[in-house]
């Protein structure tokens, strides 16, 4: 038999009191007995006090230890405990509760971490409920875990996870319990047609016959609205302790609060984005891959005449653009091609708009939708129209006096208005040539303006190139004759038709042949060769003239550029720029080889009509002006 120090003390104290009391009363007259009794009592008291002292000292050392170890956490326990062992039991109990708290805290952190991680992708109430539900097995075991979330259009999504052997009846029973809990929470029963059910996890085990014995439900609230309900069911009785359920409630509440806060933040951001979108002057529509309208800003509503509508659907836009743009197909096409696309221009009473469609990519580069930007180009169109008009009016105004002078001088030089003395005639010829130079300059400048305004029209026709060249040669050959140059046109007897706009290639060829004559000394030689090369017609214009200095070869197609070795000769520096632009506008190419002092060769290639227009070969000759 062992006694605790406090009991030992109490026992000693009691014995001392009894013996001392009896001794003093009985032997008060007898000093010989009284004295030893008093001595005994004194010794016993001393012993009792020593024990008391030992207890106090021990308690003090415990307190010091506890203080050091758990920062006074258990000091109160010790102070209030009636003895050492009960204090230790209490400490052990609290320690295990601490373990659970740590487990709960870890669980809470894990759930919140997952919620935060998913924010970057997207987060809604449904997902928050799912995260909590799917993490539940970390803290409690269950046979079936079900959770309910709510869809946008009144659907109720029921998901059930079988975690341990259970039969179908068990799952059905768990579902029914959950529906009842939900009905209690929402105050209205759920209709079967609203339900979308999905079960996963283990397969039903029909051998398992145990019924639902433990069960609990945790609601999840987001922004004070019920976002979902999580239910765990077990075959074990009294399985879910108050503490575990309490933790789940707390985590669900906290997760709901986090999601609420994030959603508020998203809403704020969305409002900022919306304000920004509303303030921009371009109309903007964003369509997702499911052909739903994600964004339509104020300006786009104005352009499409949809300002009065609360929400704008795909159909509204399709109807607003009916006959002008097949909006749905355009959206599909851009998602498919993944390329930006300039769509048709839209003319409304408010102005002219350019519509640009762009694919929208997510963080991983996948196309998730299309944006349509409506830019107001009314002013640009007006400027463009004015520019074109300016070009044509100016050309008309400049050319009118030039053509009068040309014709009058022509008549004078032809002696149509009477015989002209030779000296005057010579001077008049100079004036005539100067006038021709101004005409060339005006024409070149107009060509440049038209090229730059994008007004150079290319109307390719299948052309008999041999006949075409023959028809233009008399005019250019005058230059060769004047400069006593030898000219040769080398060609096959027959040649496939080329696809070209005669007006454009006339200008290119005339320019190249005139250049060849101009930049080749008198009595030089110029050759024009027609051949087939890589399914193309190739016109080679070779001279043995001055050539192009090596260091300036890369600049000869520049506007107003003139090579150093020919600056003394007249010219505007526009001819080759225009020729290259026109050659390319005709679907052809223009390149050259040259050696200074030895000559230059230009290669002008044109597509064959058969390749460009397989079905449109015409038999009639193109008319050449």
């Amino acid at each position: 038999m062992t006694f605790s120090p406090s009991k030992k003390m109490l026992l000693l104290f009691s014995i001392t009191l009894i013996i001392g009391g009896v001794g003093i009363i009985r032997f008060s007259e007898n000093n010989a007995v009284l004295l030893p009794v008093l001595a005994f009592v004194l010794v016993m008291f001393t012993l009792s006090f020593r024990t008391l002292f030992a207890i106090l000292q021990r308690a003090h050392s415990f307190e010091t230890m506890a203080d050091g170890l758990v920062r006074k956490k258990y000091a109160a326990v010790l102070a209030s405990a009636d003895n050492e062992s009960s204090a230790l039991t209490e400490i052990a109990h609290r320690l295990s509760s601490d373990d659970r708290q740590i487990a709960h805290k870890t669980y809470r952190a894990a759930v919140l971490k997952e919620i935060f991680e998913r924010i970057s992708v997207s987060l809604d109430e449904q997902e928050a409920v799912q995260i909590i539900a799917e993490s539940l097995n970390r803290i409690v075991a269950y046979n079936a875990l079900s959770y309910i979330t709510f869809g946008e259009n009144g659907e109720v999504f029921f998901r059930c996870h079988l975690g341990a052997a259970a039969n179908k009846a068990f799952a059905e029973n768990a579902k029914k319990k959950m529906m009842d809990a939900l009905a209690t929470l929402t105050g209205a029963p759920i209709r079967e047609e609203q339900m979308r059910s999905l079960c996963f996890g283990l397969a039903y085990d029909e051998d398992a016959r145990e019924p639902v014995r433990s069960f609990f439900s945790v609601p999840v609230f987001v922004d004070k609205k019920l976002a979902g309900l999580i239910t765990a069911a077990s075959t074990k009785p009294h399985y879910y302790t108050e503490a575990a359920i309490g933790v789940l409630y707390a985590v669900a509440e906290e997760a709901g609060e986090v999601v609420s806060r994030i959603q508020r933040l998203f809403l704020e951001e969305k409002n900022k984005t919306n304000s920004m979108l509303a303030s921009i002057s371009e109309g903007l529509i964003m369509v997702n891959a499911k052909q739903e309208i994600m964004i339509i800003n104020k300006k786009a509503r104005e352009i499409l005449g949809l300002t009065g509508k609360e929400t704008v659907s795909m159909l509204d836009i399709v109807q607003a653009l009916y006959g002008k743009l097949d909006f749905r197909s355009a959206a599909e096409q851009i998602i498919r091609s993944q390329k930006p696309q300039l769509l048709s221009e839209l003319e409304t009473h408010g102005g002219i708009y350019k519509i640009m469609g762009n694919p929208v990519h997510d963080g991983q580069g996948a196309v998730i939708g299309t944006t349509f930007v409506f830019s107001d180009i009314t002013q640009e169109k007006e400027v463009d129209r004015m520019k074109t008009e300016f070009i044509s009016i100016t050309s008309h105004q400049l050319r009118t006096p030039l053509s009068s002078m040309k014709w009058f001088m022509e008549m004078l030089l032809n002696n149509d208005l009477g015989e002209l003395p030779e000296k005057q005639r010579g001077v008049l010829l100079d004036v005539y040539n100067s006038n021709e130079r101004i005409i060339t300059l005006v024409n070149d400048l107009l060509d440049v303006s038209r090229i730059e305004a994008g007004k150079m029209q290319n109307q390719p026709t299948p052309t008999n190139i041999i006949e075409f060249i023959k028809s233009m040669l008399p005019e250019v050959e005058q230059n060769f004759v004047k400069r006593k140059q030898k000219f040769e046109f080398i060609r096959p007897d027959s040649f496939p038709r080329v696809s070209a706009d005669p007006k454009l290639i006339w200008q290119v060829l005339q320019n190249l042949l005139t250049n060849a004559s101009k930049y080749t000394p008198e009595e030089g030689k110029i050759t024009l060769t027609l051949s087939l090369a890589n399914e193309n017609a190739l016109l080679t214009i070779a001279d043995n003239g001055y050539g192009i200095p090596e260091f300036q070869k890369n600049r000869i197609f520049e506007k107003f550029f003139r090579a150093d070795n020919i600056t003394k000769m007249e010219g505007t520096g526009l001819g080759l720029y225009i020729s290259k632009e026109l050659a390319e506008a005709s679907g052809g190419k223009l390149r050259f080889e040259s050696a200074e002092g030895r000559g230059t060769t230009f290669y002008f290639s044109l597509p064959l009509a058969s390749a460009a227009h397989p079905k449109s070969v015409q038999t009639s000759e193109p008319v050449i002006q």
Binding site: T400, S403, I439, L446
Partner: protein, 137 residues
């Protein structure tokens, strides 16, 4: 007597001469064309704009019409459209002589079997007259 014969002869000659209506608002160009064409033996009638031109063409029924494009009151394009719509005039060859750069607006209105387009600055009188002779022969 001699005078009478002379007069008869003139009337006969007038009818035999090929006639041209020039619709051209620029006096100097009109003059140049008139001089050149009269020297070639044409009877020349001139109008200052499309509207006058249409009237003159109706009256004269010329062998050929010269028509500018940019003119006050009525442009050459409008006049051309009018000629195309009129069965009595439709077959008369039209030479569009212009310095108007946008000839893509004019070309669709021309029947290139008989009509021609000339950029004035790029065409000599000699070329124009040669073309008349080709068309009328």
């Amino acid at each position: 007597m001699e005078e009478k014969n002379e007069a008869k002869y003139t009337i006969y000659m007038t009818r035999a001469r090929r006639s041209i209506v020039i619709i051209e608002d620029d006096a100097s160009q009109q003059k140049a064309l008139r001089l050149a064409l009269e020297k070639e033996g044409f009877e020349v009638h001139a109008a200052m704009n499309g509207k006058e031109g249409i009237e003159l063409v109706h009256v004269q029924k010329p062998d050929i019409i010269f028509c500018d494009v940019i003119m006050p009151v009525m442009t050459g394009i409008e006049a051309l459209e009018h000629f195309r719509a009129d069965a009595l005039i439709r077959d008369i060859p039209v030479f569009v002589l212009t310095n108007y750069a946008l000839h893509e607006k004019v070309m669709p209105l021309l029947d290139l079997k008989k009509d021609r387009f000339f950029l004035k600055t790029d065409s000599s009188l000699k070329q124009i007259i040669a073309e008349i002779n080709t068309i009328l022969s």
